[in-house]
Symmetry: C2
Subunit: 387 residues, 2 copies
């Protein structure tokens, strides 16, 4: 798979850009703070058509980034959604102008806690203001403005990306023709907050975190970040997937009778933790998990989720969930769909049978591809796109 | 509840003992090592009858100890199973002689990694041999010998305690009249191993762990142990229980816009972590989780679980599971029951409807009490106990 994807990716017209916003265009944050001077790093795939009607914004998840369909500069691996974006895929760059931007608070080129604080000339660290999902979306809307795009054809995303999609529908319903939210929810549950809190505590317990000031001291809280990733990674998979992939298989012929990685699942988790710290910043992990925990779309609208979608009447939505996703289980998706229906939006909903857990949206799921292709095709016809 | 339990506990005849075993009675371990000179700390409740037929061994879970029905010496809280053991409870000390022993590898008086290594005069630390569930049970059998008890009336336990019960049935079927395994499994799943590995990595990532030698340096890896406890604690509760108890309720009127505990569930988890380190040893946590991960009763018997119970024909078993327990879900209990049936044992099985998750076995679950009382009463009649 990997080699094929790499070859395919080389054939797609890819752009990399950084949109800069000066103090005259501050990002107003939900916290009341303002980011005066910030930037958004983004990738594009394909070409914007003359009518500027074929742009699709892809929103990434907690640990994703803008390299959605091209080789990752740090890991050298194919983009995280190359299965969905590419020639012959549901989002074919021959038809669509696909944009993916690193979220505000991130660590892949957009302004975040590891960026320089213009007031001090040092890394922001914990002086960076807490950001929210609406803040991320507000920054994306400014990027879309700067790209000269009035109305997107679609906003698409899974997990935290799906939350951003719902926020787009609430805050800028007129700026996209359609919305696709996958493996997401309209708010973070107590269990989700709990797992994130474990990750944050693991990072903050690492003495190399230094109260968030590690960068100025040339340190990185790698052990804490690795533990955070390991805990989170378990929640991305289903018990069935772990059992099928690893079961109780050993690394070697016998037990070590010690604390080395005896079981393959231990070794796999350690690898997940160790490789993650090469490409991710610990403070970004704190800020982005915080944004997710703060997310509660109904609470932004007097506790009534349908109110959030009051501007999205007659808009087209595609909501997808996976049967074995215990992080954002199907009832959360149904809650979204009911609210969309109540608001008079046109919502398609598919619960996809899969035992791969939350990560299914990143994996080979033909039914997801079919659902996406069908929805996009139908929307494209309505939009008058010539594909 | 707490005050009543305390008053009740004061009325029960409680004994505390430490059984010592010299080099002439070594504990032979599955690893091949021998513990020459070790001790087992235990509590008793009630009085052994003249026939020595009313003894019940209670096996504790990962972080439990022998203070099953009396105030905990460190926390001052009621025993962890005071709901089950006490006057008018399923295991009434007026009828039964209840014994609960700290497992080998533990930190409440039984020999473990925080004990002195006679060879060095220092704490064992990681020089302590890796122990297994069969090792724990072997040590318990030696304790029962020393107490002069040939045959127990029952062996009872939940979670890791339930695993020990199954191991008793495999290794010493003739030494107990009945067996009660609650919220347990015959082996640790990949997901369970994964969560334990996160906890171990959190402990070992703490620089105060010092490769396990923290005690000799006057240190304790409290932050790492707290993170391990937090991650594990989430797995003891169901999503529904977390949502019901905490939902998205805040600690204060508004958000902190920082990394303080904003949500009640965060504060609760932090408290669980912080209070745990007062009563538990980090190395014991490593050793006991390892013992659980190594547990695979079928693998001990050529891969055939029924073979493990070949000596338990006609023995009475009670197997209980809880609908919302995702750590040891009902299918694991059914696997045990099927193997018991295949071996010709007399197995009662009850799946208890509860939304409290794995921890339900420690909480107020009237159906569990009824199931335990009914099973014990019937077994007592067969055994000819005068209650």
């Amino acid at each position: 798979m990997s080699e094929t994807l790499e070859m395919v990716q080389a054939a797609v017209e890819t752009g990399e850009g950084v949109a800069k916003f000066g103090p005259d265009q501050p990002l107003r944050l939900d916290s009341g703070a303002k980011l005066e001077g910030f930037q958004i790093a983004y990738n594009t795939y394909g070409v914007l058509n003359a009518d500027r009607t074929n742009a699709v914004l892809v929103c990434h998840a907690l640990t994703g980034d803008q390299h959605v369909a091209s080789l990752h500069p740090t890991t050298g691996k194919p983009g995280w959604w190359s299965r969905v974006i590419g020639p012959g895929r549901p989002l074919d760059p021959a038809n669509y102008f696909v944009i993916c931007a690193n979220v505000i608070g991130g660590c892949m080129g957009s302004t975040g806690p590891s960026s320089l604080n213009p007031a001090t000339g040092e890394c922001w660290g914990l002086a960076f203001p807490v950001i929210t999902i609406p803040d991320m979306v507000r920054a994306q809307a400014m990027l879309i403005d700067q790209l000269g795009i009035e109305t997107l054809f679609s906003v698409v995303g899974g997990s935290m990306g799906g939350m951003q999609v719902l926020q787009w529908a609430a805050d800028y319903p007129e700026r996209s023709f359609s919305f696709i939210s996958i493996a997401a929810a309209a708010r973070h549950s107590a269990q989700n907050i709990a797992f994130h809190e474990v990750g944050r505590q693991a990072i903050m317990a690492d003495p190399d975190w230094r109260g968030g000031d590690y960068a100025t001291q040339g340190l990185r809280p790698e052990k804490g970040l690795a533990v955070a990733r390991m805990a989170a990674h378990i929640t991305y998979l289903s018990e069935a997937a772990l059992q099928r992939k690893f079961g109780r298989e050993l690394q070697r012929d016998g037990l070590s009778w010690g604390f080395d990685a005896d079981f393959q699942v231990e070794s796999y988790l350690r690898y997940q933790g160790a490789s993650f710290v090469d490409r991710f910043d610990a403070n970004s992990y704190l800020y982005i998990t915080r944004a997710m925990d703060y997310f509660d779309l109904a609470a932004q609208h007097g506790g009534v989720l349908a109110q959030a979608f009051s501007g999205a009447k007659d808009k087209r939505f595609c909501v997808l969930s996976f049967t074995s996703d215990w992080l954002y289980p199907t009832p959360e998706a149904r809650t979204v769909v009911r609210a969309l229906n109540a608001a008079g939006a046109r919502a398609s909903f598919v619960e996809i049978q899969s035992d791969k857990g939350h990560d299914a949206f990143l994996l080979d799921e033909p039914v997801m591809d079919q659902a996406l292709s069908g929805f996009l095709m139908s929307a494209a016809v309505s939009r008058g796109l010539c594909l």
